[in-house]
Amino acid sequence: MANETQEIQPLMEVQHISKRFPGVVALDDVSLQFYPGEIHAVVGENGAGKSTLMKIISGAYIPDSGTIYLSGEKVFFSHPQEAQLKGISIIYQEFNLLPERTVANNIFLGREPSRFGTLDIRQMNNQASEVLKEIGVERMISPTALASSLSVAEQQLVEIAKAISFKSKVLIMDEPTAALTFTEVDLLDDLIGRLKQKGMAIIFISHRLKEVFDIAEKITVLKDGKFVKTVSKKDVTPADVVYLMVGRALDHYFPALGKPEEFGDVALKIKDASNDMIKGVSFELRKGEILGVAGLQGSGRTELAQALFGVMPFKSGSLELHGKALAIRNPYKAIKNKMGFVTEDRKAEGIAPRQPIRDNMLMTVRAIQNLFGVIHKDGIGKSRQLVPMLGKQVDIKTDSFDREAQFLSGGNQQKVVLAKWLASDADVFIFDEPTRGIDVESKASIHDMIRDLTRRGIAVLMISSELPEIIGMSDRILVMADRKVVGELPAKSSEQQIMLMATGHATTNTVTAGKE
């Protein structure tokens, strides 16, 4: 079978594709072939360049260099619509349906069958039925149903139907099963199998190795924007693929780990805590310790942080802060109880971009002050010296603290966020992706600062999708998957160990593992 496909002309081929974004090489000279009737998975860590490659193939990005061939013919796409008309369709992770319109309306948006501008609704519904029938879901989805009334899986099927209606030859799916239940995944598997029979080339990106091994025939590994290897599923094991994905040395110096004998009392203790987003989480966090939280996208890492900080509070289970049972129902209460939360999305949740650095730094202090208390631009009373002191402490490079925070670099903005929480005098810190999108130099200094916090007896929960960061910083590592804590690993565990656990290929029976 594999030998046969080698002789067939590839349906699509990319050659020497490179793409740079400011400060990053997203793709570096990547060449790949996709054959008709082949299910091809593209895997890699976050930032490996998978999504960038798919966006280039589907016309959303224009490559800096390199060429795309479709059935041997050189093509160039300046707009996704051009790729679509040539038979390349992409289904993004976030759905692109109009919720308040019918299935048929969504499938034929922009290409509605009509006579003199008047919609031929019957014709449109009939054609939609045909397309739905073609992918074998006509009994499940009615063309006249509103998209918002469909389940996530059904919406995905409609997206596939839309792609099919363009007579697509290449179908790209970005994390197709991320939001699906098991039975729905089976349904999708069936469908992908049928599309393969039609001779389509199916490409999908996935973080879940289990599903890659369930569905794909070929697996291509990308790492740091470079092509690593294309392998046949039957020739490799998941562990091999993980090795290809992460096999590299740590590229960055981390401060020394904490010494277990120096860890203090339990600062934060969670038992069986659940809300709508996460299930039955239990763990303990000690003073002076960094507890890393690893997991794939959508595993519930950020939701855990938000629950702890009262953004989306726990609905059941118990939370103890310094031995005192407590319900943190909102962020105000968390700050009052000396918790700090350095959020994942710096722009949306970390800084107020149009406010001066000074006001950003004083935000938490002012938040817990009397609402009608007097404020002074430098803070009042003993906090008056706060701004210059904090600025020095976190080493912000700016000529004036009156400068609007939006004009700082990403690294310096993150330092402002850090300063804001230092000012609040918090003793339990939650970091969510503390160094995402930050230059290497600032990264190192933020890592040093986080470690310094623990030396002052502060407890740190650090969420990160960068495994080197998790390994380099954590005194213990919690691994999350499917919105549960699936296991705990000791300091200096390997990337393979973490990835195997996070992709559902290994679990440990530690005390912290979720129920079942």
Partner: protein
């Protein structure tokens, strides 16, 4: 996995299957309450009198016509605050050109429709090409228009010929012409929105402009056309008002609060301010609610400010109920 969320009881599902907008429940409720108040305080003289009942609709005609246009732009996630002064400029310009003579009517109509088209085109171009927030853009054009009108005309200008007043007061058999006009416009608006490619694309632009663009919809053009049609409906409303009053006054638009009221009735009718959701029949329901309130309060001689309070409350309650509904459906 079924396609229907199957929420609610059989009746509600039936109502949804034939697409009765929920605003009509509110309309019926207000109708019943109005009838009850009428029985108690006026011995049922309002609701027994067919002339007054027809008057509910007649009073709604001008607002109804503008609301049709407003529904189009709001469906496209835009808005038009300049309709009130577009009505005013139509009123003064048409009566000024007509000067009470029948022969001038075609010119007058041509002039005001050209002005309307220009206003809509400018609004649409500013919003789509300069990427100015539609609220701000149309607030700006509205102020500009108001300045121009007030600087040029101060009181009634010109006169409308007797024949033209047919639109305001004439009847075809027992049915007032004005009601037929309103029905025709609403039907036209419904057809545009529900039965044409333009309407389908407008829902796309309002629902998610990026999705629409990637599906090949020429989003800018769709929105510009919607704005032109919206201004045209304001012109029609202006002509109708002039035909009722026999003359054009610069304050007809703002005095009728046609800008905010057309937005309010559209939103009460179930069209989402965020765009992409709603329909013309809902808007008609919203307009009739305002018409009933108007008539009942008038006939019962209640303090008119109370009516405004009630209108405000209805807006809030209606929109809150839509939000709660969609939250429930999402769950």
């Amino acid at each position: 996995m079924t396609t229907a969320t199957a929420s609610g009881n059989g009746f509600r599902r039936f109502a949804r299957s034939i697409h009765i907008p929920p605003v009509y429940y509110i309309l019926i409720l207000i109708f019943l309450v109005g009838g009850l108040l009428d029985q108690i305080f006026a011995d049922g003289q309002i609701f027994k009198n067919p002339a007054i009942m027809l008057n509910i609709v007649v009073r709604s005609v001008a607002l109804g016509i503008v609301a049709v246009g407003q529904t189009l732009v709001i469906t496209g996630a835009s808005i038009d605050l300049s309709v009130a002064y577009t009505i005013s400029i139509t009123a003064v310009m048409s009566s000024y050109v007509m000067q009470g003579k029948d022969v001038n009517v075609p010119q007058a109509i041509l002039v005001v429709f050209l002005i309307g088209a220009a206003i809509g085109l400018v609004n649409g171009l500013i919003i789509t090409k300069l990427h100015i927030n539609p609220f701000i853009c149309t607030l700006g054009t509205s102020l500009i228009l108001s300045g121009i009108i007030n600087a040029t005309f101060s009181d009634y200008t010109g006169k409308v010929p007797q024949s033209f007043q047919f639109f305001g007061y004439g009847t075809l058999g027992p049915v007032p012409v004005s009601i037929l006009i309103l029905l025709l416009i609403v039907l036209g608006g419904w057809f545009l929105l529900a039965r044409t490619k333009f309407g389908s694309h407008l829902y796309g632009v309002g629902g998610n402009p990026e999705v629409a663009r990637l599906s090949g919809v020429r989003t800018d053009r769709v929105l510009i056309i919607a704005h032109i049609i919206c201004s045209m409906t304001a012109v029609l409303a202006g002509l109708f008002l002039v035909s009722q009053m026999g003359s054009g006054a610069p304050w007809v638009g703002p005095n009728g609060v046609y800008d905010l009221n057309s937005i309010a009735t559209t939103v009460i009718g179930g069209t989402a301010l965020s765009g992409g959701k709603g329909g013309m029949w809902g808007t008609l329901g919203g307009v009739l609610i305002f018409g009933i309130l108007d008539t009942v309060f008038n006939q019962l001689g209640v303090n008119p400010y109370l009516k405004t309070v009630l209108q405000g409350a209805i807006i809030v309650v209606a929109v809150a109920s839509y939000t709660l509904r969609s939250k429930k459906e999402a769950a």
